[in-house]
């Protein structure tokens, strides 16, 4: 059974290609310099449609998390840690925290992005806890 796969559209193709290349891309407005995620056709701060892709540092902290004990399907192995990550650049995204004891995750913990295979052709951003 396969994990739920994103279906990239014209606005998100570059983002998902970035994931496959090991880069977390967020949008930057060329008019007002605001940063945003998820990708949109307009800047939510100034309505400009001049947006470019900007690599995120991939660093952030856990805004919240949960340890899923009952998996949504057989493709996901419980327990797994789902988290909302607040990037140092400001935008927030949903992700997983991997390679850790689920009990060691806490709100506020510092994390760094890495990428995990979601299918044979698609990688997705996930995060690991920073040491100390």
């Amino acid at each position: 059974m396969e994990k739920i796969q994103p279906v990239p559209g014209p606005l998100s193709e570059a983002y998902f290609a970035g994931c496959n290349a090991g880069t977390l891309l967020i949008q930057a407005c060329e008019s007002c310099a605001a940063l945003q995620f998820y990708p949109r056709s307009i800047c939510t701060s100034c309505n400009s449609s001049s947006l470019k892709w900007s690599p995120s540092s991939g660093r952030g902290h856990v805004a919240s998390f949960t340890v899923v004990r009952r998996a949504i399907s057989a493709a996901y192995e419980a327990p797994y840690v789902v988290a909302l990550i607040k990037l140092v650049e400001g935008p927030q995204l949903m992700s997983h925290i991997v390679e850790c004891d689920p009990e060691s995750v806490s709100v506020g913990a510092a994390v760094t992005v890495t990428f995990a295979a979601w299918s044979e052709t698609q990688a997705m951003p996930v995060f690991t806890l920073d040491e100390n």
């Binding site: 998820y38 949960t66 949504i72």
Partner: protein, 389 residues
């Protein structure tokens, strides 16, 4: 703009059987609810000129309200199906009140029903509800619906020191109310220990922190305050209503711990000219126990961050300072998906008619209802009351 306060009233209310109702489709449950509510109001279906429904998950339709009207062979002049998740129920009541005031319709039925338990497999019910997540940026991470709400709970715990025991007390209180309601799906009393010992689902939520999966539906009949006096039951008036819409996807929420219930509540209180202390009861959306705690705070029943202490010290069970979910709520009465809050509405009508039997809240003159849809996304607060309040 003319205030809506006291201008419209609920004159009919009815529930179908709830829980496990096999062999009855969502359409038939909806039709059953409508006919029972019309009986309660003592009017014929031909007097209905407005119909509002919400779509069914087990039997989805492109034009749901029109299909219900066709099934019943009624021909309203105002007819639509709305979708704002669990917030749909009170949001459409807001629209219906406005439609009555502006003359779009005189007698509106709001009816919602679904067959989540018998009409869908457990896996189907889980998947269809989880599809609320963003298809590209949330769903791939495999969140169940409880997992989305657990994010709110964990954030509240980290910020305010709220505990799993506080959440569990919400489930215990709802069950205690349900024990007094013969119609409720789950009536055996439970303890905090029972909740904490139930199967872990998504930390900090256990199975008993999660709402039921049910079949069932309910309907109400609304009309103008002037016409309401001609109906047999004590009219229940809309005193205040307000909405707040903050996001659709939880990853876009500007706050995980304070919701747009704040704005919805402020708007409803302002219209009613009433405050939290005037409410004899509150029916708060309890798809998962943490939502009740957050709503108690955001609707001003206690200070922000003190929801856990309020539940422990003031009490939300029968006889508590603020009885919450007097029918048992989504946690213990029933939860057929989006129609879930309809039962909070019909229960409030009976409480304000003073016909709620064993679970009647003494001196119930006004009560507050709150529903939210999405993942703490779309909020509607409703304040109902008796004549003269």
């Amino acid at each position: 703009m003319a205030s809506m306060r006291g201008k419209v009233a609920i004159v009919g209310a009815a529930d179908t059987r709830v829980g496990t109702v096999p062999g009855v489709s969502a359409t038939e449950l909806c039709v059953d609810a409508i006919l029972k509510a019309l009986d309660d109001a003592c009017i014929s279906k031909h007097q209905v000129d407005g119909l509002i429904t919400c779509n069914s998950m087990s039997q989805p339709m492109l034009y749901h309200a029109e299909a219900m009207a066709e099934y019943l062979q009624i021909f309203p002049r105002y007819c639509f199906a709305a979708g704002a998740g669990g917030g749909t129920t009170f949001s459409v009541l807001h629209h219906a009140a406005s439609a009555i005031m502006t003359g779009m319709a005189d007698t509106i039925v709001i009816a919602m029903a679904d067959s989540l338990r018998s009409g869908l497999s457990r896996e189907q019910a889980m998947m269809v509800q989880s599809s609320t997540g963003h298809p590209q940026f949330e769903q791939p991470y495999g969140l169940t619906v409880p997992a989305y709400y657990a994010l709110v709970a964990q954030a509240h715990m980290a910020q305010y020191g709220t505990t799993a025991e506080h959440f569990a007390q919400v489930a215990v209180a709802c069950r205690a109310h349900a024990a007094r309601n013969p119609a409720a799906q789950m009536r055996t009393p439970i303890t905090v220990e029972d909740v904490l010992a139930s199967r872990p689902i998504a930390d900090p939520l256990h199975l008993l922190d999660c709402s039921l999966v049910s079949d069932g539906g309910a309907a109400i009949v609304m009309t103008s305050a002037e016409r309401a006096r001609d109906f047999p039951h004590t009219p229940v008036y809309v005193l205040g209503v307000g909405e707040g819409h903050s996001h659709e996807h939880i990853s876009q929420a500007h706050s995980l711990t304070t919701s747009a219930a704040v704005e919805a509540g402020e708007r409803a209180y302002a219209m009613a000219g009433l405050g939290p202390a005037d409410m004899a009861f509150a029916q708060l959306y309890d798809c998962f126990t943490p939502t009740v705690l957050v709503e108690l705070e955001d609707l001003g029943f206690c200070q922000k961050g003190e929801g856990g202490a309020f539940i422990t010290e003031a009490g939300i069970g029968p006889g508590g300072a603020l009885p919450v979910n007097t029918h048992g709520g989504l946690l213990s009465h029933s939860h057929p998906g989006n129609p879930g809050s309809m039962f909070a509405l019909t229960e409030s009508v009976w409480q304000l008619r003073h016909t709620a039997g064993e679970r009647q809240v003494p001196n119930a003159e006004a009560g507050l209802l709150h529903a939210q849809g999405g993942i703490m996304s779309s909020h509607t607060t409703l304040i109902l009351g008796r004549d003269g309040y």
